[in-house]
Subunit: 154 residues, 2 copies
DNA sequence: ATCAACTAGTTGAACTCTCAACTATCCCCG
DNA sequence: CGGGGATAGTTGAGAGTTCAACTAGTTGAT
């Protein structure tokens, strides 16, 4: 027997669905408009910029983004065409590839980041009370532990 | 001056980002696997099934889904090819088109819905306390009012 | 009545993502 | 050391989305 959602649950689910999509879409479009890249690509640049030597193994990068290898591979191809990332052979594993953030990529990221952070503040942090932000953090962690037990957020 | 995210905010933001994406991706893949349609298309069928005569004007349907007209138009083309939806001319506005759920579309939806609802329960409702669900509803409403003030969720 | 401005909807190209298939390399057990 | 199975990464095709341009019909002010 399926337990259908009651009206209250229905409301909660649809509100969450629409709100989370609206937030992601809004930030994605702002990034696309202001910096010419989708949010997924921005995240790749961020990870690389935080890594030693601004470089990471493709697999590690994919894991840290919860992205499929295929998706990452296509994305890095695109980012390479734009000159923001470059590939290098891995010195210790001949199957491996390193994605490396170029100087130009770093500059593009440095230019994009302030506006993007402003957006995250405007659309998320400034809209909620400190208490609600705490709740949202708890809720998100719980869901993430369930959906992706091996995730890399401490 | 950009106000960067402090470590706490960073954690909250990334947890939310990953959790909401993981949830949507999981449900999308379950739906794709079990019923051969993406979640966006499932939602179209749901809206139509809830509408009088199982039919809606394209614009109203797009608004109720917070979807672009273009996206909906492509989607309805696809759903029409599959025989789940059909287009009709609008009797009162010659520019208008109605999207109508077919009998076959209704049956496909009826078959898909129970599993999908089970998924929503398993991955969302069963993971959170009633208190947390209340909080999530509040938070979502707040964000939605900010991001899309004209949204149609009461 | 007319015409500019607006609304409804579609289209095609470019882009991103998914999925399955594929190559190449590494690991390790017998 | 040899070979089966795992791991790393890429590729191409197909599907969905975006964006801008487009057609067609409607509206309202003059």
């Amino acid at each position: 027997m399926t337990r259908w959602l009651n009206p209250d649950e229905q409301r909660t689910w649809r509100a969450f669905l629409f709100a989370s999509r609206a937030l992601l879409e809004t930030l994605d479009k702002e990034l696309q408009r202001d910096s010419g890249m989708p949010h997924a690509y921005y995240e790749i640049l961020v990870r690389l910029s935080e890594a030693p030597d601004r470089s990471m193994r493709m697999s590690d990068l994919a894991d840290s983004l919860a992205s499929s290898r295929s998706r990452l591979s296509h994305a890095v191809t695109r980012l390479t065409e734009q000159g923001w990332v470059r590939r290098e052979d891995c010195p210790t594993d001949r199957r491996g590839q390193l994605a490396v953030l170029t100087e130009q990529g770093y500059e593009v990221l440095a230019a994009a980041a302030p506006r993007h952070v402003d957006g995250v503040r405007a659309h998320l942090f400034d809209q909620l009370t400190p208490e609600q932000l705490g709740q949202l953090g708890q809720i998100s962690s719980r869901l993430l532990d369930h959906l992706d037990p091996d995730h890399e957020l401490r």
